[in-house]
């Protein structure tokens, strides 16, 4: 495996740990899915106006988050309904646009399930920079985010700017989802965030332990999954998720066994 692929995946795994924790704690899984679905539209827009995929996807992710916040404030439809509308509208538009733009089925397939071929050196720079910045911002906002996750009322009363923090979290999700989509695929991106964090939850006693544990488990899954995908010519997303689920099961078994003993 070449160095730029290794660095890209490790950068993603590191930020996936803490970010995945918030997806689990704050029940943002469906939001993550929605963001991922909108990414294909971002790629299509990128093709039309001639910017890179990552920029197109991040722009769409931010628009997606803003639309959700705006629609949610109207308090007419539930958040999951809004997400369903936004996500599937964006996915359908994306597929239609990609086909009209002449993208083949294989290309669309690669976006859906992830592919190592897509990880070019140019993209690696983007992904590593994006992950690094996201991780930095996440660490800076960490205490406030943790307090807000425990109780929004309390955090608000103690001076945490809830709206800004929540928006920051959504944008971070957008950046990380956009950064990792070509590797893991639109359909499976949320599991890259959720499964390592959930695995870490099985043994963690503090939020920080869960975040670091999540990063470590995500890195391990990437390091095991990617060579497997490469050797057997498989889509990377499904292989990484299979490895992640296996690690979750293993830790769960170990947990159950020690609890009995």
């Amino acid at each position: 495996m070449s160095a730029h692929i290794l660095l890209t995946t490790l950068a993603l795994a590191l930020v996936a740990g803490p970010l995945g924790c918030f997806v689990v704690w704050r029940r943002m899984a469906y939001f993550g899915d929605g963001l991922a679905h909108s990414a294909l539209l971002g790629v299509a827009i990128g093709l039309v106006i001639g910017v890179s995929n990552q920029i197109g996807m991040m722009a769409i992710a931010i628009i997606f988050a803003l639309s959700l916040i705006w629609l949610r404030a109207k308090r007419v439809l539930a958040t999951d309904t809004l997400l369903g509308i936004l996500a599937h509208a964006a996915l359908s538009l994306g597929v239609v646009a990609m086909t009209l733009l002449g993208a083949g089925d294989i290309e669309v397939h690669d976006y859906l399930l992830g592919s190592l071929d897509a990880v070019t050196q140019d993209m690696a720079v983007w992904v590593i920079a994006g992950s690094g910045l996201s991780l930095g911002l996440l660490m800076r906002l960490w205490p406030g985010l943790i307090l807000m996750t425990t109780s929004e009322d309390l955090a608000h009363a103690e001076g945490v700017h809830i709206v800004r923090y929540e928006f920051a979290l959504m944008v971070l999700m957008g950046v990380v989802v956009a950064a990792s989509i070509q590797l893991v695929g639109i359909l499976l991106i949320t599991s890259l965030l959720i499964i390592p964090a959930s695995t870490a939850r099985l043994f963690a006693r503090s939020p920080e332990a869960m975040a670091i544990g999540g990063s470590a488990i995500a890195s391990l899954c990437m390091l095991i999954g990617l060579p497997l995908a490469q050797n057997f010519q498989l889509a990377t997303g499904p292989v990484i998720v299979c490895v992640s689920v296996a690690s979750f099961m293993l830790v769960l078994m170990a947990r159950l066994a020690t609890r009995k003993g």
Partner: protein, 259 residues
């Protein structure tokens, strides 16, 4: 210390606070002062604007009319109505009490002794009983050395025994720390049996003062009904007598308020 601030210096001054949401008047020209070492209990039916008033007292929202003034150096400790801890968040009591503030280990120990939670510091937050959790929230509110404690129905989810214990603890802290307390409460039978100042809110301040005078106020009677006023009339009498009423009325009041 106490001599530095005269009794006329209010910690919080609210003048003609008016809040309108979607064309509806939530608060109408509310004026309220909180002095040093005041203990004010805020009562009122659901939808009376109690929580909205608290949010403005905390300056979390800006009013449509009127103003809320904080004395310089005012530190507010806030105990929210309830906190539901998601079990997916691994968090011990100790970690919760030190997140996003600068509480040191020794400060934490003395705080924990004060609120009787020393034995809970290493427990996961999600495992606590309702009463324990409220004491932990109180501890966090005290960590910032507040001179005003604001509590939003702090004993709402506790059983009668737990409520009594929690209110006793608030009383003790009020006396020992010489701070001011503003508390929203639904537990009328407890509120009205104390001697502290009661403020009755229903979009505007209907009446305020000692429980006996509030209970005789026509507006109080129209809001809480004759029952409550009659109940108040029996408080000064024998213990056994008002115990019965106390019990009956608690359930009555609780179902009223839930609906």
């Amino acid at each position: 210390m106490s001599a530095e601030i005269s009794a006329t210096d209010y910690l919080v001054t609210v003048r003609d606070l008016t809040v309108v949401k979607q064309g509806q008047t939530i608060l109408d020209a509310v004026s309220l002062d909180i002095a040093k070492h005041d203990f004010i209990t805020l009562i009122g039916p659901n939808g009376a604007g109690k929580t909205v008033l608290l949010r403005h007292l905390l300056k979390l929202e800006s009013p449509h009319g009127g103003r809320v003034h904080h004395q310089s150096g005012l530190k507010i400790g806030y105990v929210p109505q309830r906190v539901t801890i998601d079990p997916s968040l691994p968090m011990t009591v100790q970690r919760f009490l030190t997140v996003n503030n600068d509480v040191t280990g020794s400060q934490l120990d003395s705080l924990a002794t004060e609120t009787k939670i020393s034995h809970l510091l290493n427990s996961p937050l999600a495992d606590l009983s309702g009463g324990e959790l409220q004491r932990v929230l109180l501890t966090r509110a005290l960590a910032g050395k507040p001179n005003l404690l604001i509590l939003d129905e702090p004993a709402q989810n506790l059983d009668v025994n737990g409520q009594l214990q929690f209110y006793t603890m608030i009383d003790e802290i009020y006396e020992s720390r010489k701070l001011s307390v503003l508390m929203v409460s639904h537990d009328l039978h407890l509120v009205m049996s104390s001697t502290r100042k009661v403020v009755c809110l229903f979009r505007h301040i209907c009446c305020s003062g000692a429980p006996e005078s509030v209970a005789r106020d026509p507006e109080f009677i129209s809001i809480f009904g004759d029952d409550m006023a009659k109940l108040m009339a029996v408080y000064p009498h024998s213990h056994a007598h008002d115990h019965d009423h106390d019990h009956d009325h608690h359930h009555h009041a609780a179902t009223d308020e839930e609906s």
